[in-house]
Symmetry: C2
Subunit: 122 residues, 2 copies
């Protein structure tokens, strides 16, 4: 039987912020869940677009030329190559849709970096 995923249930199991975990794998893409708290690191993904969907809380996707603010039920796609910094305006629960190849901190090495092949599945 196919596995149903309850996003809030999965998000509720997360402890540390900025540690995405995989909940589904359609078409060589990952669906990930993550907690956002405080500020992330400026970075870009050279080869992948990245979709952010907020489930709870509020985030900003800061860009070099502006900012997009997202609340529950809102999403944005950051195109490949576009430098961005996710920031939690309020502690947030977020779903990411992106290719399996995405490295969370993109072109930047950082304490938050988790290699794509080291992501936990929950």
């Amino acid at each position: 039987m196919l596995r149903k995923v309850n996003l809030k249930e999965k998000l509720g199991t997360l402890d540390a912020p900025w540690v995405p975990k995989v909940v589904a794998e359609p078409n060589d893409q990952y669906v990930k869940v993550a907690k956002f708290e405080g500020e992330y690191v400026w970075h870009h993904h050279a080869d992948e677009d990245e979709l952010f969907l907020v489930v709870e809380g509020e985030i900003e996707i800061q860009l070099r030329d502006g900012v997009v603010r997202l609340g529950p039920g809102e999403l944005v796609v950051v195109p490949r190559g576009v430098e961005h910094r996710p920031v939690a305006v309020r502690s947030a629960q977020v779903v990411l849709f992106e290719p399996k190849s995405v490295r969370n901190t993109g072109n930047v090495d950082h304490a938050y970096t988790i290699e794509a092949d080291e992501l936990e599945r929950i």
Copy 2:
């Protein structure tokens, strides 16, 4: 500036059921929104996995060997080649995440069929 998408706002613009409309296009995938009412048609997609995420209402993904029931915030991935029939238990608002190549009724020609290159963007 990047375009923010409010899923409920987009879903609120839909009239006819079973007519998916495109709201984002990351990585050669489409994010689509659709209203589900009543029963759809049995079909499969030979080459694509299909992700269903319920925003409001309740749906069943009927399979030849069982059924998966989804409410708000729940998703399932139907793997390529697996025959399925979506059914609205209660009128539902749904997000689909799948490759651009997906034909909504898959291998079946039906009144509901919309070719992949004829999808409306909203």
